[in-house]
């Protein structure tokens, strides 16, 4: 039977050495940052904060010189988990630094890297991802937005038409990495797509924020109407889009954002339990104990996957396992908090804890949407077990 590989691992000393520094920086920067804002964590958009992180050298730190400083993925892991545990507003640079930069390093041209990576590392250039379309959520093989070869003013390139949805913070982003149809799908349904860097200030691009149920404008619909994209902005080989995207999705799955999204709420929950009278506290202790056991185990699993990634292995199956359990853990927190709190969370007019709870209760339904739904993750795991 194919088996899961999860060796217990320690973060190496050079990574741990960054922890104190990161924590001190965050203590200072986030002084007085309210709990409800911390609960937003990687949905919190703050360009100024991202630029400060860039100035610290904490964006793109794993990239090779001259773009980064060749730090190990585990050093970055420590910085990321400190950011998330503090509930820092990391959304502005999040996708650019985590997915787009690495993608360009892997598949991009020197010209693309030179033009874009310095801005990402400085916390100034932001990205969104154009994968999903109105009629293709998880089913990327069915995308219809098209890029057709064309030459405009003597420059070889592509004309793009179509529509992308669920693009996080497209309205604040400079670039989209879009998966577009450039040919027929072929037999395995996965051919005929390519990835492009699209400058969102190009003529013909329209970005429409879609309010989510919490009232935030995080997702967007982006429409392309005869948008010209120079051929120099194609990423990787024509027709290889699906393969590139699949590799990209795997980056997303096992990071600390898979179990620390609601950490600020957890801290407030522990604080609240500390105020309960003795006769009411047994059940609350029980709940806190279970949450702690889950969290500490998830973190150990996540570090194990990060260590494998850092060593050049491909723990796609293990990453899917961490994501699946991480989402289940995060989604259980508001449920548990509410039963312990014993009263209704409030969006307005209540305590910090209540506000944070109200936010997470609603936001957590989206946790399982990012990076593959629960059904899809479990399908990936089943395939890894040899069942599919």
């Amino acid at each position: 039977m194919p088996s899961l590989t999860f060796e217990p691992c320690d973060l190496p000393p050079e990574a741990e050495a960054l922890r104190g520094e990161a924590r001190a920086f965050l203590d200072a920067e986030l002084k007085g940052f309210p709990v409800a804002a911390r609960a937003r964590s990687w949905v919190g958009f703050d360009a100024g904060f991202s630029r400060k992180l860039g100035a610290q050298g904490w964006l793109g730190m794993t990239w090779p010189e001259p773009w980064g400083r060749n730090a190990s993925a585990l050093e970055r892991y420590v910085v990321i988990e400190e950011l998330l545990a503090a509930g820092a507003p990391v959304a502005a640079h999040w996708i650019a630094e985590r997915q787009s930069g690495p993608l360009l390093l892997r598949f991009g041209t020197d010209e693309q890297r030179e033009r874009i990576l310095p801005g990402i590392a400085a916390g100034e250039t932001y990205f969104c991802i154009g994968m999903s379309e109105p009629d293709s959520g998880s089913d990327l093989a069915s995308i219809r937005s098209k890029a057709v070869r064309a030459e405009v003013n003597g420059e070889p390139g592509w004309v793009v038409n179509g529509r992308k949805v669920w693009t996080t913070y497209a309205q604040h982003s400079h670039w989209m990495i879009a998966l577009l149809r450039t040919g027929e799908a072929g037999e395995n349904r996965h051919g005929g797509t390519s990835q492009f860097l699209i400058d969102l200030s190009s003529p013909g691009v329209e970005v429409r924020p879609i309010r989510n149920m919490i009232g935030d404008e995080e997702f967007n619909e982006v429409t392309f109407d005869e948008v010209f994209v120079p051929d120099a902005m194609r990423i990787g080989a024509e027709g290889e889009g699906w393969q590139q995207v699949t590799a990209e999705l795997a980056f997303e799955r096992s990071g600390p954002d898979r179990f620390l999204s609601a950490f600020a709420l957890l801290v407030e929950l522990v604080r609240f339990v500390g105020t309960l009278p003795p006769e009411a506290v047994a059940g609350a202790h029980d709940a806190v104990g279970r949450l702690y056991a889950h969290l500490s185990t998830l973190r150990a699993l996540s570090i194990s996957v990060a260590t494998q990634l850092d060593a050049g292995a491909d723990p796609a199956l293990e990453a899917a396992v961490v994501k699946d359990m991480g989402v289940a853990f995060e989604q259980s927190i508001p449920e548990i908090a509410q039963q312990i709190l014993g009263v209704a969370p409030r969006v307005a007019g209540g305590s910090d804890f209540e506000a944070a709870l109200a936010y997470v209760q609603q936001a957590c339904v989206s946790f399982s949407l990012r990076g593959g739904t629960t059904e899809i993750m479990r399908g990936v795991i089943a395939r890894g077990l040899g069942l599919r």
Binding site: G137, D139, S142, Q338, P345, G349, G350, Q361, Q362
Partner: protein
């Protein structure tokens, strides 16, 4: 007849109601007329149509921004839905909790942003206590820190130790607040001059009306999910054809059935004996649990679409999260119910469940 009939041209006959009440009161008579009498079907249809006619996206959004949905409430009041439990002598419809159930279920299905559940519950408490019934919408609160629609100047029936008080808080000093459902929940000052206190369990009646609303909302969530799963195509076929989705929706169907049954059972028990402590606690626990599962499954089925402001789903799920917690979470009621079950003793468990407490 009450206003319901006059306004909507329904023609339930008073005699049929009296007959039914008489039968249920007959000594030794355990059976009851079918739950869904013709009258009750008509009440349900009236409520359904009324909410469908008066609730569009604009009205909902305005209500969630704090605007009182006057047209909707006026229609509710004009049809007497808010006075379903008020005796005919004092201008109500003279119905019972089984009648109230179908109204509250419809209100829940439509996630109606008006204090109808509160008004129905409060009016019943006031009637039972023989207190004067104030005009207009009423609020019902077991927690002064989160009083439904307090800012809108409604009269509040609030728990006061084991009894209740009636008050009309000044709207001037109330800071705005709302629950996840974005329905108003404001803190009121507790230093009002309470009129006389009355006997009545606000928490229990609050739990009952919330259970009825949840039963409706969970049923509606199931309905939305099944329809969507039949339409949304992924990987070349409707997502409802995937076994994983089918299994989830099968679970949801069970939850909806259980929620509906638990809430109705509590209403019937209260109608019949006036003591529904076990049934109301069971209803709040069971509908709350169903609500939690329904929200989780529905958002999983709907994916990103269901997370947008534009889709109707969240009007239901946000309210389900709120209603679950209001008037006592499942834990609160489970501890209360568990204590009652343990105190009556292990050997009384089955006799209590079956309503036959001693061998002959």
């Amino acid at each position: 007849m009450g206003r319901l009939t006059e306004q909507t041209h329904l023609t339930p006959t008073l005699s049929s109601r009296e007959e039914r009440v008489a039968r249920a009161d007959a000594p030794g008579e355990v059976g009851d007329a079918p739950f869904m009498t013709d009258t009750r079907h008509m009440i349900a249809e009236t409520a359904e149509r009324l909410f469908a006619d008066h609730l569009d996206q604009t009205t909902r959004e305005a209500a969630e921004e704090g605007t009182w949905p006057a047209a909707l409430w006026d229609a509710v009041a004009a049809n007497g839905l808010d006075r379903v439990l008020v005796p005919e002598e004092t201008g109500g419809f003279g119905g019972d909790w089984a009648d109230a159930f179908v109204i509250l279920r419809a209100a829940g299905k439509h996630a109606a942003p008006v204090p109808l559940a509160e008004t129905i519950g409060a009016s019943w408490l006031l009637t039972q206590a023989g207190a004067k019934l104030p005009e207009g919408p009423l609020s019902l609160a077991d927690d002064a820190a989160r009083v439904p629609w307090a800012l809108h100047g409604v009269c509040v029936v609030a728990s006061h130790k084991t009894r209740f008080v009636v008050c009309r808080p000044s709207t001037e000093e109330v800071p705005p607040g709302h629950n996840i459902g974005r329905d108003p929940r404001e803190a009121i000052r507790r230093d009002f001059e309470p009129a006389d206190t009355h006997a009545g369990d606000v928490a229990a009646i609050g739990a009952l009306v919330r259970s009825c609303q949840m039963a409706g909302a969970v049923t509606q969530v199931l309905d939305l999910c099944v329809t969507y799963a039949g339409e949304r195509v992924q990987f070349g076929r409707p997502i409802g054809k995937f076994q994983a989705i089918q299994q989830q929706l099968a679970i949801l169907a069970g939850q909806a059935a259980a929620a509906d049954m638990a809430a109705q059972t509590a209403c019937r028990a209260l109608d019949r004996t006036g003591d529904a402590r076990f049934e109301i606690a069971s209803a709040k626990i069971r509908t709350g649990e169903a609500a939690g599962q329904a929200c989780a499954i529905a958002h999983q089925v709907f994916g990103a679409i269901g997370f947008t402001e534009e889709h109707h789903l969240h009007h239901l799920t946000r309210r389900l999260w709120s209603w679950r917690a209001e008037f006592g979470t499942e834990s609160v009621w489970a501890q209360r119910l568990g204590r009652m079950v343990v105190e009556q003793g292990a050997d009384a468990l089955w006799p209590g469940l079956t309503g036959l407490n001693a061998s002959p």
